[in-house]
Amino acid sequence: MAEDGFKNMIYGFVLLTLFMFLTLTFVTQVAMDNNKDTTELEKGAFSLNQYEDFLEGVDDQAEVFQKDRFANQNIFITLGDLIISGLFRIAIDMLVFITTPFTLIAQVLNNVLGVPTLVISVVLGLIIFSIIFGIWRLIKIGD
């Protein structure tokens, strides 16, 4: 295992998310430009609306993260909040950002392949546990 494996893996997931959006946007745009029926694309299995809603939610959360945790408070309050109760909230926010690609993949599985929600939930649960242990390993060992 090379150094910084966990960080590079997260970087890989971010790149994968960008690749997925690029591909879906390319398919939508080129199909529309060539006068193909994009009903399935816009309202069916390939609907980008829920991805956009999900990303908007992440964006809102990032703004809250920035305003509440850092911008509207001085550094001492932030540190105190961080120590007392903020650490848990920040950790949850970080986890949401990290799990974004997995959630997108889960939505693709559910929409395109029809995988049951229960199966996706179990897989996502396992992935979240793996990320928690990965963060723990990153803190303890630095890898």
Binding site: M1, A2, E3, G5, N8, M9, Y11, G12, F13, L15, L16, F19, M20, T23, L24, V27, V30, A31, N34, K36, D37, E40, L41, G44, A45, F46, I105, V108, V112, L113
Partner: protein
């Protein structure tokens, strides 16, 4: 089930109508078998040349997606939405394996 007679094909549209006819009389499996063949050829060729199975999956997934997308643009009855969706999924899975594996330092 009554099959379309080949003499009813509108030949002025060339290969577009011919491909749609072939796909119709094979219940959509002509295009799927072509795509499966392309996937296997690219995967096996890449694996033999580079000895990299996950890289071959990514290359084969993207190759099949591009061919399927052109087929869809040519005539949606040749490559339908379901087939295109599966090829997009193949491209995603191949990219996921490559990005995670390569970035984990195994390469």
């Amino acid at each position: 089930m009554a099959w379309q007679d080949p003499t009813t094909i509108n030949w002025s549209n060339g290969a577009v109508e011919l491909l749609a006819y072939i796909n119709a009389v094979t219940l959509g499996w002509a295009s799927r078998m072509v795509l499966i063949g392309i996937y296997i050829i690219v995967l096996s060729g890449y694996y033999k040349a580079r000895d990299d199975f996950s890289g071959g999956m990514a290359a084969a997934g993207v190759s099949v997606f591009i061919v399927a997308f052109f087929g869809f643009l040519l005539n949606p009855s040749f490559v339908d939405w379901i087939t295109l969706a599966i090829t997009i999924g193949l491209a995603f899975i191949g990219a996921a394996i490559v990005l995670v594996e390569k970035n984990s330092g195994t390469a």
